[in-house]
């Protein structure tokens, strides 16, 4: 399955016949969408934790947000590469999506700081869950804020090159998106399984003492 994944990821950009900046687009946007999806999943699990009270959801929420943050970091990196390829700079404030991701990245990094500073238990699970919910509320609100801020922050020197997608390009985009989503799902399951294993090992160790 992993091989198919990698193939899909490489084939997809190869199909794109435009310049490098377009090729990055095929990876950058799916990664961004996947990050959003992971954060959303994390919030759903968080809501389930608060509603149902089953601690199982804490781990699932955490792993989802962890994945989301990784993909978020990748979004910023691919975004920087894209900016470099398109406009010759590594960062621009005029790309609303990039700025949004920067804010979200900061927010979710703080999520891990929060978890790190609280002891394992229902307190940490609940506080994390509440924070995760704040995160998804922040996404649209931040986006609005950044749109409004365009007014007065920095003059838009670079115009965004929104690619018009024709049929084949759209197909390629979908393939790429599917591949990245699959990758995220696989990583999610792997990490979750790993965490469950850790927990089981720990319980065994304690039972033996």
């Amino acid at each position: 399955m992993g091989v198919a994944l990698v193939l899909a990821l490489i084939v997809a950009p190869e199909d794109a016949d435009q310049g490098i900046s377009q090729r990055i687009f095929y990876i950058h946007v799916p990664i961004a969408l996947t990050a959003y999806f992971c954060f959303g999943l994390g919030a759903v699990k968080a809501l389930l934790l608060l509603w149902r009270g089953d601690e199982r959801y804490d781990l699932e929420s955490y792993v989802a947000i962890h994945q989301g943050t990784i993909f978020g970091a990748l979004t910023l990196i691919t975004g920087a590469i894209w900016a470099r390829a398109s406009w010759g700079v590594w960062w621009t404030w005029s790309s609303n999506q990039l700025v949004l991701f920067l804010v979200l990245f900061l927010f979710y990094c703080a999520y891990f700081m929060l978890r790190f500073s609280l002891e394992d238990g229902p307190r940490r699970a609940r506080s994390s869950a509440v924070y995760a919910l704040f995160g998804v509320a922040l996404i649209p609100v931040s986006f609005l804020a950044i749109r409004l801020a365009d007014d007065f922050i920095h003059p838009t020197v670079f115009t965004r090159d929104g690619p018009q997608m024709s049929g084949t390009m759209f197909a390629t985009f979908l393939v790429s998106w599917g591949a990245v989503t699959l990758l995220a799902y696989v990583l999610y399951r792997v990490e979750l399984a790993g965490k469950h294993l850790d927990a089981d090992l720990r319980e065994l160790r304690e039972a033996l003492q």
Partner: protein, 212 residues
């Protein structure tokens, strides 16, 4: 309504505690004034008038953080928070009482800071002032909750700014926009939206943060 009576009793308690202890408010006042003076030296001559508004908002956010860091300290001495949680009142009333009290302190500090700002830097019109009020509500609402979250763990002084600052970014946009932009009204509406969303979220989720 009993709920409002509970909130009033709790807010009154916070105001009383602060009046007796006098820890937080003087510190906030001095901090914001000192910051404004620092800014005078930090802004270059030709930076343009609008830059000052940006710095005003930085000062406001960090002053609010100062107040928020101390918000739950009275409840931590002698473990009083447990006593409040045990009471039959709605837990969200605890949050609301604390938020209103923190808001009162922030407004009090601004009652000195804003005239000082006008004196040192730039004038503030009605839109800007309404923006300050709305953003204050937002930051106190969210901050009270985050402060309670951080209080339960280690390194809480470091954690609180990390939790609050990303959430404060839209507020800064709203506040500066209200002061600077020709269409200030739009930003005020945005701040109203922020307050509605996050105040309700904070109000509803406080219960889960403070119980096991």
């Amino acid at each position: 309504m009993m709920y409002l009576a509970d909130v009033a009793a709790l807010t009154r308690k916070d105001l009383r505690v602060e009046l007796r202890g006098r820890d937080t408010l003087p510190a906030m006042l001095l901090f914001v004034l000192a910051t404004l003076v620092v800014f005078h030296f930090a802004i270059p001559e030709d930076a343009g008038d609008d830059a000052a508004y940006g710095l005003l908002w930085v000062a406001i956010v960090f002053t609010a953080l100062l107040g928020l860091a101390r918000a739950w300290v009275p409840e931590q001495e002698h473990g009083v928070l447990d006593g409040l949680v045990l009471a039959p009142c709605d837990r969200s009333a605890i949050w609301l009482g604390k938020t209103l009290a923190t808001l009162a302190f922030l407004l009090a500090a601004q009652a000195v800071a804003l005239p000082a700002f006008v004196l040192f830097f730039e004038p503030l019109d009605a839109t800007a002032l309404v923006g300050v009020l709305l953003a204050d509500i937002g930051i106190c609402a969210v901050g009270s909750l985050m402060s309670a979250m951080a209080a339960a763990g280690r390194a809480r002084e470091v954690l609180l700014p990390l939790l609050v600052l990303p959430l404060a970014i839209p507020l800064v946009v709203g506040g500066v926009g209200a002061a600077v932009s020709a269409e200030g009204g739009r930003f005020l509406l945005f701040l109203l939206l922020y307050d509605a969303v996050f105040a309700v979220l904070s109000w509803a989720s406080f219960e889960y943060v403070v119980t096991e």
